[in-house]
């Protein structure tokens, strides 16, 4: 049987000191810290992309809102789910039309805008 790891008392005392100090160094945040969630004006200039995904036996409909100039600025929201893929597809289409600023879909982004390295 291998020898078990033993923390020296001095080190253990230091660990507890660090743990105690967490309550003094960690401060509660301010409501303004969450402004990035409230600042949603940029969503007006986004391309809305419907996204269908099979998840836990259901077809999940998500909408991805990606800025048409900076596609890396995006937000994904789950909208609903259906057992039937066709119904989910239809729902995704209508939800996209409802959410998108340009309902005809003239704003476009391509996957190349993400510059994703594949290696």
């Amino acid at each position: 049987m291998g020898r078990s790891f033993v923390l020296s008392p001095e080190l253990y005392a230091q660990v507890l000191d660090q743990l105690s100090s967490l309550y003094f160094t960690d401060k509660p945040g301010y409501s303004t810290d969450m402004n990035f969630l409230r600042d949603d004006l940029w969503l007006c200039d986004t391309v809305v992309i419907e996204h269908l995904q099979a998840r836990k036996g259901l077809w999940e409909v998500s909408l991805v809102f990606a800025h048409y100039q900076m596609p890396l600025r995006f937000l994904a929201r789950r909208i609903t789910h259906h057992t039937c893929p066709r119904r989910a597809e239809m729902m995704a289409f209508y939800m996209r039309r409802l959410a998108a600023k340009d309902q005809r879909g003239t704003l476009r982004i391509s996957s190349e805008s993400f510059h994703t390295p594949l290696n």
Partner: protein
């Protein structure tokens, strides 16, 4: 099922160790208590030493769990919760203190493991006092070294309170156990600490 039988053997052994002491319990008694044959018991544990080692393994695991309940929350009630766990532990494993010196003679590794746990327990209590001083719940050390003594006294109360009640032939309960410990800390509480103690700790069942 093998794991279930092993657990049954360990639980029976703990019951008998508490009742008669480790040295006075025979394999036959453990087998009878567990409701299995000695042959079956010997299949799982080759001798009593193996059972004792396994009981202590369980005991150490539980003790390590209790130690991990350090500063889960910022208030005094956090210590009270840990005291509840200590009480349950020492009430469950009463034999540990009865057989302390016997175990020391025959199981050197068990004893050294215990000493490590005791050292950690003492450090935790001392650091908790320091933390409460920092938070303004406990007064700064009035006389140098007095909080080290307080730490040792709290430790002794946690470990030896149940056996001394048994010795006096008096009943023991979690509320009385916790009161014995808080009674040592309360003289050092600041007005803020006292308010927190009265509002958050006393309602958790500290009985004078």
């Amino acid at each position: 099922m093998s794991a279930a039988t092993k657990q049954k053997i360990i639980e029976s052994a703990i019951r008998l160790f508490n009742q008669d002491g480790v040295a006075n319990v025979r394999l036959q008694q453990i087998a009878d208590e567990a409701g299995i044959s000695v042959g079956n018991l010997a299949y799982h544990y080759r001798n009593k030493d193996a059972i004792v080692a396994s009981v202590y393994e369980n005991l150490f695991e539980e003790f390590a769990d209790i130690l991990s309940f350090y500063l889960k929350g910022p208030g005094l009630s956090d210590f009270d919760r840990q005291l509840d766990l200590y009480y349950d532990f020492f009430a469950k494993y009463k034999f540990y203190l009865i057989d302390l010196f016997e175990v020391e003679r025959s199981h050197q590794t068990i004893m050294s493991a215990w000493q490590q746990f005791v050292a950690k327990m003492l450090i935790q209590i001392r650091k908790r006092i320091d933390y409460c001083v920092q938070r303004g719940l406990v007064r700064p050390e009035p006389i140098p070294g007095i909080y080290d003594t307080l730490t040792h006294n709290i430790w002794m109360t946690i470990v030896f309170w149940i056996p001394q009640q048994v010795l006096k032939g008096q009943p023991f309960s979690s509320g009385h156990f916790k009161h014995a410990i808080w009674a040592q800390i309360s003289p050092y509480l600041t007005p803020r600490g006292l308010t927190e103690y009265e509002s958050e700790v006393q309602p958790l069942g500290v009985n004078p």
